[in-house]
């Protein structure tokens, strides 16, 4: 019986101690980790789209509530004024969700550019959506009034050969971004204008 109690006590103390240490460490690294994730997962896509921005779009960000989802918006200052916002949407790809960073031109209500952030597509096929700049370049300047589609579905985007599903996923994510933008336009514009040049 005494041994039994000892076992319980030792394990309990050990687990409590370990839980305490980890909770403390998690709290103190949380902010840094969040920044690192933004920098290395979303950063490359944001920076490519907003090439030439005079601010740091990763630092100048704000969040808005869209129904149940909280979205992060990155603001780019071009030619002295907050001109573009970028945010992430997802489309169903061949190997899970394809994350797409979509940048919108606030002045002309057009797509400024898109970039794939995360995906599980086949290397050499669907993965080209991320590695081949000529595919995502087609989204630049697309109007947001009509859904963006690949040529096979009656749209204007040339699909990556052998990766129609991935191309559709990217198009769907871009279309979703247009919807989100149209819905939240007023809030996005007022938040973006708060960013100092």
């Amino acid at each position: 019986m005494r041994e039994m109690i000892k076992m319980v006590i030792v394990l309990t103390i050990l687990s409590c101690f370990s839980g305490g240490v980890l909770a403390y460490l998690r709290n103190s690294t949380q902010e840094r980790i969040d920044n690192q994730v933004l920098e290395f997962v979303k950063g490359p896509a944001v920076r490519t789209i907003f090439e030439g921005a005079s601010n740091n779009p990763i630092a100048d960000r704000f969040t808005l509530k869209d129904a149940d989802v909280e979205r992060t918006f990155f603001v780019a200052v071009l030619d002295g004024e907050p001109r573009g916002v970028a945010f992430e949407t997802f489309g169903k790809g061949y190997g899970g969700d394809v994350g797409l960073m979509v940048a919108v031109d606030l002045k002309e209500d057009k797509l400024m550019g898109v970039g794939v952030t995360t995906h599980g597509e086949t290397p050499g096929m669907g993965a080209k959506a991320k590695t081949d700049p000529s595919f995502v370049a087609q989204f630049k300047g697309q109007s947001m009034d009509t859904p963006i589609k690949v040529v096979a579905d009656g749209g204007s985007i040339n699909a990556i050969s052998g990766a129609t599903i991935t191309s559709r996923a990217v198009s769907a994510a871009a279309t979703e971004a247009s919807e989100v933008y149209k819905k939240l336009k007023d809030q996005i514009t007022s938040e973006a204008n708060k960013i100092k040049q």
């Binding site: 000892k6 076992m7 030792v10 050990l14 980890l22 460490l25 690294t29 980790i33």
Partner: protein, 201 residues
Amino acid sequence: MAKPLAQEFLKGLWDEVPPFRLVLGLCPTLAVTKSIENGIGMGVATTFVLVGSNVLVSALRKLIPSKVRIACYIVIIATFVTVVELLMQAYAYPLFLKLGIFIPLIVVNCIVLGRAEAFASKNGVFRSLLDGLGIGVGFTLALMALAAVRELLGTGALTFWVTPIQIFGPSFKPFSFMIEAPGAFMALGLMLCFMNLAGKK
């Protein structure tokens, strides 16, 4: 039992180097040795966990009831692994992205539990520290050696930190088989073969 202290450290470097002599911890050995950088990262992370868990297990060895010792060891090891995971995410995120799932998997790396059970639970704190350090450094060097062979043949370059250094000229055609999974088995097999030949008395 009363081996010289230096021996506790040095045995990890050759006589008991984990992947080649004890043939333990092969999962990370095969999986992450695509570049030297990955090998170093994995090795350092494992060394930290080994030293930490060895010291703590050794310090608590009289308090831990033998019936629940494995559970206690796992709690200790898992704590250190999570510490490494959080620190790596906060300070070396690109490396964390490459090593990914293999960092949490250090918990079930049999080298760590093996040293806790076979050494730290029977020896003093200082000896356990040296043992953990020796095995950890040995593991790191083994990963680096294997990664060097694979990366050099597979890509023609060596990555010590972030940027690859081209070793062979541009005319080198990468033997990319070596950085795929089957190449890992072949490289490990050949390594074991040379280690055995070299160690033959």
